[in-house]
């Protein structure tokens, strides 16, 4: 009997596919998310929109909040640690969380090195902006990938950019002759072995979710149609005017993402989505997606 294997780590992400992972900051919110059909929750102290507003250093959540949420719901519970902060990750693993998000939403602890995730029994999800970044994280042991998007903005534009970059990168690798793949691995800054694998299979070796800016059912459908395996919604649920209804609507839109009449139905009278933010008005030093490499 072997625990913490690659199969069980990447396998849990496969079980989350077609589902919605929701950010929650209290056990009550976690219950609402579970009742709405979320396949997992991300336990936080603050949602990204509030982290953005508060400024300062954002760290791992209080273990008490995470534990309370784990006790309240039966679906998998994820939690975030800072990029490179392997001690926070060790704490989260000790708490028994089901997945760790090494996240650019928190203030990075190490600007050079991401966590060496293969040492852990608990699986990790990491953000990416393009194929090279995705493959670097997978090489370190990430068993699940998500787009970074631009968290806390309610603006889907960056998530779309990142998803298209990943998918485009995969198509390019498939089209290239094998004798040009070493050079492409160098361009991507990605391990050749993974580059060769994608050339052959035409897909990432792990599940890839969309994150960072999803605020409506149509946003979820857009990302699924662009090739996402599932959806993370951060501030989009509990910063909307009717969280319960929004949560249910985004779950249905993710399942029935190609059925526009269902998306139309669930989009009716949702109330106000979270307030949006134009990426261009954010000072470059406050962008979250550029954290990590």
């Amino acid at each position: 009997m072997e625990t913490g294997t690659w199969k069980v780590k990447s396998g849990l992400a496969q079980m989350l596919k077609g589902g919605v992972i929701m950010d929650v900051v209290t056990p009550e919110q976690a219950k609402i998310a579970e009742q709405a059909g979320a396949c997992s929750v991300m336990a936080l102290e603050r949602v990204p929109a509030d982290i953005r507003a508060a400024g300062g250093v954002a760290r791992m959540a209080d273990p008490k909040i995470i534990t309370a949420i784990m006790k309240t719901v039966s679906i998998p519970v994820m939690a975030k640690c800072r990029i490179g902060h392997f001690a926070e990750a060790q704490v989260l693993e000790a708490l028994g969380v089901d997945y760790i998000d090494e996240s650019e939403v928190l203030t990075p602890a190490d600007e050079d090195n991401h966590i060496w995730k293969r040492d852990f029994n608990v699986p990790f999800v990491c953000g990416c902006r393009d194929l090279g970044e995705a493959l670097r994280r997978i090489a370190e042991g990430a068993a699940m990938i998500r787009t970074k998007g631009e968290a806390g903005t309610g603006n889907i534009v960056e998530a779309v950019r990142h998803m298209r970059a990943v998918q485009g990168g995969i198509r390019k690798l498939q089209a290239l002759p094998v004798n040009e793949l070493t050079a492409e691995a160098k361009n991507l800054g990605a391990p050749l072995e993974l580059v060769l694998e994608i050339h052959k299979t035409g897909k990432l070796p792990v599940v890839n979710f969309a994150a960072g800016g999803v605020a409506t059912p149509a946003d979820a459908s857009l990302m699924m149609q662009l090739g996402a395996d599932g959806i993370f919604v951060g501030s989009g649920i509990f910063k909307s005017s009717n969280p319960e209804k929004m949560a249910k609507a985004i779950v249905k839109a993710t399942t029935h993402y190609t059925d526009a009449s269902i998306i139309a139905e669930v989009s009716k009278e949702l109330g106000a989505a979270m307030p949006g933010l134009d990426i261009k008005v954010i000072p470059p030093e406050e962008l979250l997606a550029t954290r990590g490499w």
Binding site: T3, G37, G96, V122
Partner: protein, 198 residues
């Protein structure tokens, strides 16, 4: 033959891939109309709470229960097994309820307790079958009429009742099609050679 794979949430593509390898047509099912003309239905792994809510929201529960009354073959893996059970510890909505068993969710603990191990299933051949258990449920009790297909230590992890099969583990995450082939043989009524992995 046409196999439907419930595609509301979870690892449905993996089942579709496995049936394709075996030469059976497998299609995703999201709406009641897509249940027409099927020879069997697969309930995949995923989150049982998410899947069960979507089953009710899109009115799939009643037509599936109607099919069951006619002895329609079903295969449930992990969350799928939870949804096929008549009694479930820790699920707040009513499962499909076709298998006369009692199931406990997350029986082995959380993700860090998820594991892989070899399973002994002589009806699949001499070679052990590789079991991948992810936040897996176990069968705590079986009622008469249910056949135990596999035990791991003291836990029942695969059962059969009529033409319905369920297991705690994920045969769809392996490259070994024997478990799926066994299910297909129940659907068609064929006797299969059990020894080959190919």
């Amino acid at each position: 033959m046409r196999i439907g794979v419930l595609a509301l949430q979870g690892a449905f593509i993996e089942h579709i891939r496995m049936f394709s390898i075996l030469g059976a047509e497998a299609i995703p099912v999201r709406l009641p109309s897509e249940l027409n003309g099927l020879d069997a239905l697969i309930i995949p792994g995923g989150e049982s709470t998410s899947i069960s809510k979507l089953l009710y929201d899109y009115e799939l529960m009643t037509p599936i229960r109607k099919l069951i009354q006619k002895g329609f073959p079903l295969l449930g893996t992990c969350a799928g097994m939870i949804l096929l059970a008549k009694k479930v510890d820790g699920l707040d909505s009513e499962p499909i309820g076709v298998l006369d068993i009692e199931v406990k969710r997350n029986a082995y603990g959380r993700q860090t307790d998820s594991f892989e191990t070899d399973l002994d299933m002589p009806f699949l051949g001499d070679e052990p079958f590789h079991g991948i258990f992810i936040r897996a449920p176990v069968i705590e009790r079986v009622n008469p009429g249910v056949e135990i297909l596999c035990q791991l230590d003291d836990n029942m992890v695969a059962v059969k009742q009529g033409k319905t099969v369920a297991c705690s583990f994920h045969p769809e995450l392996t490259d070994d099609p024997r478990f799926h082939r066994y299910f297909l043989s129940l659907v068609t009524g064929d006797v299969i050679a059990t020894s080959s992995r190919r």
